[in-house]
């Protein structure tokens, strides 16, 4: 049988960077094909070429054995290729229906096709058990729901080849599972799927074949059944990945953070957080597990001073954190000066300024700490500090003058974590530290966090990845609906029980 | 040898439909008659005014005519530096033996316009449209009101200004709009003292079949049939005369206030508005004119600090 997609000798470079070099592999019709590799390995570039975004410098693409020139996304769509991008391609202030119709409106007047489209959309939702309201506006939807809209778009256009670029990076375990359900349905219908992910377990779970890329080249192509996570990781990174990172004995010290009855209501009076009570001690990592959107983000924002609680208090090293309404804007600075570091969940929105250089971002938030004479920046010191940081945390490329927006997500994340670690905090708030990051980098980040714990820093970790929670936490809190629904020590780690608590089953 | 002459316009430029243009016409007439050329420059800011005056003075010009009150300080300063150059300042008063400051009694000409307007008006509601609310424009308005009230105490004057920036002199749409609004409020004669914006006013009057009064130069020819008259301010004559005196060696410095008597201001009666000016109107206007010239009627100039009596 002809392969559905075949790459032959694809090369692509951006300036001096060789993103793809002589990439060749084929994907059988009706297969789910995994594509893995480190950040910057060239996966997205290859897919962008397939989707008509970029033109390859050399090589050809064959669809069903026929050579195709894909010059634009329009053409790709016409050829039955659909792509779910790493970053959602949705228009925020439009409805699901409008987003789905965009590009395939059916005629000049929308009204004449809208009803039809809505009907078709509802049918698809039913058939694939996708829970999406066609008339909801995108910015009101959760991340998972937005992901479903992206899928919906592709089904609606009856794409035969579906590319998913890191679709699970922001999904919960349940959401991932339901996504995979859909993918299996697709496969049954004979559609071809290309899945990019950094989570090797997912590769093992769902794909039929895998291609591994490194440095823009294909370094391995295997049948999933014939390989293992370890083997894949080894191929990707070029060395074995340690699963159980070394950690010191659990010796919790004095309480660093005591949260008492913290609550938050939004402007409309809806309760986002209620009765949050917990204690965090020096030298321990407490992980907050839970489906995203259950108040974890809000809690982190309050504790970092970015947002004010409506009730309750939090004692930091014995004295209450100064939540003062009129000081709201400057609070993150006050908290930071107390010794609270914060790795924000959304690094591009909060954690870095994309248009600043890497060096400028290495003291973002600590701009008042790097002053020299005359109260001006001491660039010599900053540059030295930056060089050390890039070396120690293995940021690639180690170029301090590059705009940080040009670094890969994983490397951006390394810069953020390095920055916060270097501040020598007493309390570290960490939100989703490894979202979209490759396994080698995950290992590096985890090592850093554990080292921090071992020197007595209190770490509050928010993660939707149970794997990550398991790898890092000493204790686990589970949140649901703005409340803490349970707590368990790491040695009682039990996926089922945590799942129940995440679903709102109260402390049994 | 022929005298070397210069004209310096202010920010309005020589086509401002106002005193700059009038000055240009005067200078051109002189050139045509005598064949003596003149240099002309526009000074867009007060700083430039000083720069250009000094520049011209250095070129050893014999006489420089500075048009517009905005050049007052510049003339005063440069005249002191160059005692051999003679300056004519229009619309402002500057010190110096080598300066002739020529001001106009706009209130007198406007008075006649007011008389004519009040006579021609049926509604006894008269309109006035000025460019910017500055003393010079207020002087026109006040003279106009005095004239109107001399005909009919109950005449009502509706007054609008186009704006507050230099754009107010180049906004014919607004000038027309103000006129239209005034007509809708019952005004049937409007006096426009707003440079280019006034063009919109005159045009609107023509469209609406109402009467309009022009200003500075004789604008009667623009819309014959609806142009009641024009209040002419003979900046052209002032410039022409000064140049002539220069040529003939009769020029003297000092301060000259040119009113009706001196031929500095007047109303315009020509073939274009002959039909609109009835014998009664003509008689009344000429009467008022004579009274002012004879000193029997004193028209208040608000620039002297007096409040406008009308």
């Amino acid at each position: 049988m002809q392969p559905a997609v075949e790459f032959r000798g694809i090369s692509k470079h951006f300036g001096a960077v060789k993103a793809n070099t002589d990439v060749s592999f084929a994907i059988a019709k009706g297969a789910i094909h995994g594509l893995v590799g480190e950040n910057g390995a060239g996966k997205s570039t290859l897919m962008s070429i397939l989707y008509g975004y970029y033109h390859a410098d050399g090589g050809t693409i064959l669809l069903d054995g026929r050579e195709c020139q894909i010059r634009s996304s329009q053409e790709a769509i016409r050829l039955g290729i659909g792509m779910v991008h790493q970053h959602f391609m949705l228009v925020d202030n439009m409805t699901v229906l409008d987003n789905v119709m965009l590009g395939t409106e059916g005629g000049f007047r929308l009204a004449s096709h809208r009803a039809e489209a809505e009907k078709k959309l509802r049918e698809i939702c039913d058939r694939y058990r996708l829970d999406v309201d066609p008339l909801a506006t995108i910015h009101d939807l959760s991340v998972g729901a937005q992901q479903r809209v992206e899928i919906l778009k592709q089904i609606y256009r009856s794409a035969n080849i579906l590319i998913l670029d890191e679709p699970t990076a922001v999904l919960t375990a349940q959401e991932t599972e339901s996504l995979f359900e859909i993918l299996r349905l697709f496969k049954e219908q004979g559609k071809t799927i290309i899945l990019i992910t950094h989570k090797l377990q997912e590769i093992m779970d769902i794909t039929d074949t895998v291609t591994v890329m490194r440095g823009g080249r294909v370094v391995g192509a295997v049948e999933t059944a014939q390989t293992s996570k370890e083997a894949l990781a080894n191929m990707m990174v070029g060395r074995p990945i340690e699963n159980n990172l070394p950690r010191g004995p659990y010796k919790p010290g004095a309480p660093v953070l005591e949260v008492k009855g913290l609550a938050l209501k939004d402007k409309a009076g809806v309760s986002l957080l209620e009765d949050i009570d917990f204690t965090l001690r020096a030298g321990e990592i407490v992980a907050i597990a839970g489906v995203s959107g259950n108040g974890q983000s809000e809690l982190m924002e309050i504790l970092s001073g970015m947002r004010l609680p409506t009730a309750g208090q939090a004692d930091f090293e014995g004295s209450p954190l100064p939540f003062k309404r009129h000081d709201a804007d400057g609070l993150p600075r006050v908290f930071r000066n107390l010794g609270i570091a914060h790795v924000p969940e959304d690094r591009l929105r909060d954690g870095v300024v994309k248009n600043f250089s890497v060096m400028d971002n290495t003291f973002f938030g600590y701009q008042d700490h790097v002053k020299g004479r005359w109260g001006l920046f001491d660039f010599k010191h900053i540059a030295e500090r930056c060089a050390g940081l890039l070396r120690e945390f293995d940021v690639r490329p180690p170029n301090p003058d590059l705009r940080i927006g040009l670094l890969s997500g994983g490397n951006q994340q390394k810069v953020v974590i390095a920055r916060e670690v270097l501040a020598k905090p007493k309390l570290m708030l960490v939100g989703q530290p490894t979202r979209g990051v490759d396994i080698g980098t995950i290992e590096a980040i985890h090592t850093q966090l554990l080292a921090l714990r071992d020197v007595g820093v209190a770490i509050l970790l928010v993660s939707v990845e149970l794997e990550e929670v398991r790898a890092l936490a000493d204790r686990i809190l589970v949140m649901c609906g703005g409340r803490i629904t349970g707590e368990l020590p790491i040695n009682e780690f039990d996926t089922t029980r945590i799942g129940l608590l995440m679903g709102g089953m109260h402390k049994s | 040898a022929n005298p070397k002459l210069g004209v310096v316009y202010d920010a309005g430029g020589k086509f401002d439909k106002s005193f700059n243009q009038s000055a240009f016409e005067g200078a051109s007439r002189f050139k045509k008659e005598t064949g003596i050329n003149f240099i002309e420059v526009q000074a867009s800011s007060d700083t430039q005014a000083e720069q250009v005056l000094r520049g011209l003075a250095r070129k050893k010009l014999d006489m420089i005519a500075s048009i517009g009150f905005a050049q007052t300080q510049a003339v005063q300063k440069v005249a002191k530096e160059f005692p051999n150059v003679r300056f004519v300042l229009i619309d402002g008063v500057a010190q110096g033996n080598n300066v002739n400051s020529i001001t106009f009694k706009e209130e007198e000409g406007s008075y006649l316009a007011g008389v004519a307007a009040a006579m021609a008006s049926k509604s006894k509601k008269l309109g006035f449209i000025g460019g910017i609310d500055i003393p010079l424009i207020r002087t026109f308005a006040c003279g106009y009101a005095q004239g109107a009230k001399s005909v009919d105490k109950k005449s009502e004057i509706v007054q609008n200004m186009v704006g507050t920036t230099a754009a107010a002199w180049n906004d014919p749409a607004k000038g027309g709009e103000l006129a239209r609004s005034q007509f809708e409020r019952g005004v049937d004669v409007v006096f426009a003292v707003a440079g280019g914006s006034g063009m919109g006013t005159l045009q609107m009057a023509k469209e609406k079949g109402k009467l309009a009064i022009g200003v500075d130069s004789n604008q009667n020819h623009l819309y014959p049939g609806t142009m009641l008259t024009s209040m002419v301010k003979r900046v052209d004559n002032a410039v022409y005369d000064s140049f002539m005196q220069m040529k003939n060696g009769t020029w003297k410095g000092g301060v000259t206030a040119k009113g009706l008597k001196e031929g500095g201001v007047d109303w315009a009666l020509d073939a274009n508005n002959r039909k609109l000016i009835t014998p009664e109107i003509e008689k009344r206007v000429l009467g008022a004119r004579k009274d002012i010239i004879d000193g029997k009627t004193k028209v208040i100039d608000i620039r002297s600090g007096a409040a406008c009596p009308a």
């Binding site: 228009v91 925020d92 | 086509f15 709009e177 103000l178 045009q203 623009l222």
Partner: protein
Amino acid sequence: MSFEDLHLGSIVVSTVRNSPVLLFAAMAGLFAERSGVVDIGLEGKILASAFVSAAVAFTTQNPWYGILAGIGVSVVLALLQGAIAITQKGNQLVAGIAINIAMSGLTFVVAQYFFQQGGRTPDLGEARLPEIVLPGSAAVADVPVLGWIWTQLLGGHTILVYLAFALVPLVHWVLYHTRFGLRLRACGENPHAADAAGVSVERTRYAAMLIAGILCSFSGAYLAIVQSGFFLRDMSAGAGYLALTAMVFGNWRPFYTFLGCLMFGFFGAVQIQLEGVDLPVVGRIPGALIQMVPYVVTVIVLAGLMAKSVAPKAIGMPFVKSR
């Protein structure tokens, strides 16, 4: 001051008559900006089309040729802006400002060269647009309220006034109920999404600029061959900026933008009426101060009543395919 003194009728009619200049330009800006291209160059396009339409109308003695020529020049400028913003990926604000400044100079220089009247065109005389007299006007003219409504409020305007007002629902319809509108909004909000959905961002934005050019030209034509009957240097007198203001004020939505334009027209008309009138409490407001009425009111309305204005997200940013 009594109610009669306010001349409400006159204010309303004056509002109607004054609005088209702003309306056309604001709707033009709406198309450009909803597609993601900042259009600060409205002023320049108004001025250029005002000059060209007046000059051509005068030369041919036909206002329609004038309007056509005005469209032509305004479209050329809009497409130039488009080429800079879309193809060259240059700074859109700079492009707009450059066009405004260059047109202010160029219109004068050219007008002066051709007509020698100080940057003015001669009077158009008969080459202006006729005012439309509604059927039956003569009959109802003397009926009290109805007569006024029929002959002055509804009738007695040129075709451009009707076009301007008809534009509001039309623009709304195009924006929210057509394929083009959907794509346009998507390009202004998230061009990457539009692109991924197979919509050509470039084509959509060029189309938007084309429409902006056409609409903006009416603004200039109205100014020159309807309101004034000639062209005068810098006669746009800030109308382009005011239109932009009305659009921001209206949150980039046709109906609210329309209200913004009406607001300027209305308070401008009120200001005319208030000048020189003794008001209760404050007395007579000096002439210079009264000019600020429309602007002060705008600020107050903006500060007091309006929620935050939210611009199209991708506005002003060139679209580059990679992030």
